[in-house]
C-alpha cells in the first residue's frame, strides 16, 4: 500500500508554547513575518477556574489533503500530490510564484515566500527526514502533541495512533472539504476556522475559456481540412481570381 504521510495531533496535549512554530522557522529558514505552521486558539474566552471553558489549541500546517484545491489552482503542476508518499509537494524549479494556490488553500497554509518569491508551505522537512529525523515541529514539541508518520503503516508512530483512535479522530471542517490528512485527537476546539478555497478569477477565466479556445482551434483546423479536401478533389475547377 502506498504511503500517506500525515500528522496525528493530540490537541489536548498542546500547551500553546509555539515551540513548533519557532523550530519550523529555524529549520526551514522561513522569512521574518512568514510562517509554515501555527497554533490557533479557540475564539471563546478562557476563564480561570471554570472547568468546562478549557483552552483549546489547534496546532496546524499544510494538511497534505486528499483533494488538494491548491493543486487544482496550479496551471503547471508545480504543486502536485505525490502519489507515493501522499505529500502535497511544491516543485520550486517550476513554480514562478503566480500566487494562484495561496487563496486556494482553505486553511491558509500557503504563502508567497518573500525571499524565493515562490509558493511555500510545510513540506514535512525532507532534509531532516533524509537524515533519519522527524520534522522540526514534531521533534521539538515538548508535550509530543504532534505525531508524524505514515498513517497507512500501523507500525509508524502516527499510524499506530491513527489506527487505535480511528473512531474519534476529527479533521478541520473547512467550507471547502479537501479531506485534509491532519487528524486531531482530543478537542481542538470549534473547527470552523477552516475557510473557503478561493480560486483566483484569472485561473477561473483560463479554465472557462479553455474549451472555447480548443473549439476555435478545432474550427480553424476543420476549415483547413475543408480547403485541403477541396484542393485535392476539386482543385482543377478553381481558376485564378481575375483574368489578365
Amino acid at each position: 500500500m502506498v504511503q500517506q504521510l500525515a500528522m496525528v495531533i493530540d490537541a489536548a496535549k498542546c500547551i500553546d508554547c509555539k515551540g513548533c512554530v519557532a523550530a519550523c522557522k529555524v529549520a526551514n529558514n522561513v522569512p521574518e513575518g512568514q510562517f509554515r505552521n501555527w497554533i490557533k486558539h479557540a475564539e471563546f474566552q478562557v476563564v480561570p477556574g471554570i472547568s468546562d471553558n478549557k483552552a483549546r489549541f489547534q496546532p496546524g500546517a499544510c494538511m497534505h489533503c486528499e483533494k488538494p484545491t491548491c493543486v487544482d489552482a496550479c496551471p503547471t503542476g508545480a504543486t502536485y500530490k505525490d502519489m507515493d508518499t501522499g505529500e502535497v509537494v511544491i516543485d520550486e524549479s517550476l513554480c514562478i510564484g503566480c500566487g494562484n494556490c495561496i487563496p486556494a488553500c482553505p486553511y491558509d497554509a500557503r504563502y508567497r515566500n518573500e525571499v524565493t518569491r515562490k509558493a511555500d508551505k510545510c513540506n514535512y522537512c525532507p532534509e531532516r527526514r533524509a537524515a533519519g529525523l522527524s520534522p522540526a515541529c514534531v521533534d521539538t514539541c515538548p508535550t509530543k502533541a504532534r505525531v508524524f508518520g505514515d498513517i497507512n503503516d500501523p507500525t509508524s508512530a502516527a499510524g499506530a495512533l491513527y489506527v487505535k483512535n480511528r473512531e474519534r479522530l476529527t479533521r478541520v471542517s473547512a467550507q471547502t472539504d479537501t479531506l485534509p490528512n491532519m487528524y486531531y485527537l482530543g478537542d481542538p476546539g470549534p473547527g470552523h476556522w477552516g475557510g473557503k478555497a478561493v480560486v483566483p478569477a484569472s485561473m477561473v477565466a483560463m479554465k472557462e475559456s479553455a474549451p472555447f479556445i480548443k473549439g476555435i482551434v478545432a474550427l480553424s483546423g476543420l476549415g483547413v481540412l475543408a480547403m485541403l479536401g477541396r484542393q485535392l478533389f476539386a482543385g482543377s475547377e478553381h481558376k485564378e481570381d481575375t483574368d489578365a
Binding site: 520550486e92 510564484g97 518569491r117 478569477a201 483560463m206 480548443k214 482551434v217 480547403m227 485564378e240 481570381d241
Partner: protein, 243 residues
Amino acid sequence: MPDKTYKRHDRSDIFIHWFNAACWLLLLLTGVGLIQNPAIDPFGSGYPAWLRSVVGGGGNLLAIHEGIGLVWIAGFILYTVVNFRGAKFFLAEVFAVSPARDMGWMLKKIVLMTLGPKALKMVGADPALPDQGYYNMGQKAFAQASVVGGVVIAVTGVIMYLSDRTFGAESTGMIGWAVAVHFISVGLVFAGLLVHVYMAAISPDERPGFKSMFTGVVPGGYAKHHHRLWWEKVRTEPEQGSE
C-alpha cells in the same frame, strides 16, 4: 513584361519571418508542455509529463521556454533596429483596411476556398475578388492577430519571467492574469496560424508568395493577379521599392 519580378521582402524580412516561425514552433512545443492541469491541458494527454522527463524535469522545461522566449523578443528588437523602415511599412500596410473592399474579399475568399465559385454564383454573387494591395485581407487579418497577439504574448511572458525575480506578493493578481492572457492569446493566434500555414505553404494558389519568403521576389503575373493595387503602383516605378 511577364518575366519581370517585383521585390517583396528584404533579407531582414525573410530572416525575421523564419526566425519567428522557428521560435513559435519551439515555444509552442515547450509551452504546451508547461500546462499540467486537467482543466486546461490542450490535449488532455501525457505530453507534458513526457516532455518533462525528456528534458530532465519541469524546471528545465520552464528555463528552456523562457530562454527561447527571450531570444525571440531579442530577435524582434534586432529586426526593428536593422530594418525600422520595413517594420513601419509592414505595420502601415497590415493595419490599413479598406472596409468594403476588404470585407468583400474576405467573405468571398472563404467561400471560394471551401465551397468553390459555384456557391458564389448560386447566390448571384460575382466570384471575382476585389483587387487587393500589398497584402490581401486574409494576410492582413493574420498579420494583425500576430502583431497584437505577439505583443500581448511577449508582455505577459516577460511579466511571468519576472514573477519570481522581481515581483512581490502584491503583484500576484497581475501575474495570474498574465498567465491566463498568455494562454488565451496563444490559443487564438495558433488558430489563425493553422490557416496561415495552409494558405501559404500548402495551397497551390499562393505558391509564388511562399517562394518569395525565400527569394524576396514575386513574378509579375502573380503580383498582378493577387496584389493588383500594389502591382499597379510598383510597375510604374523606375526602380524597385526597397520594401
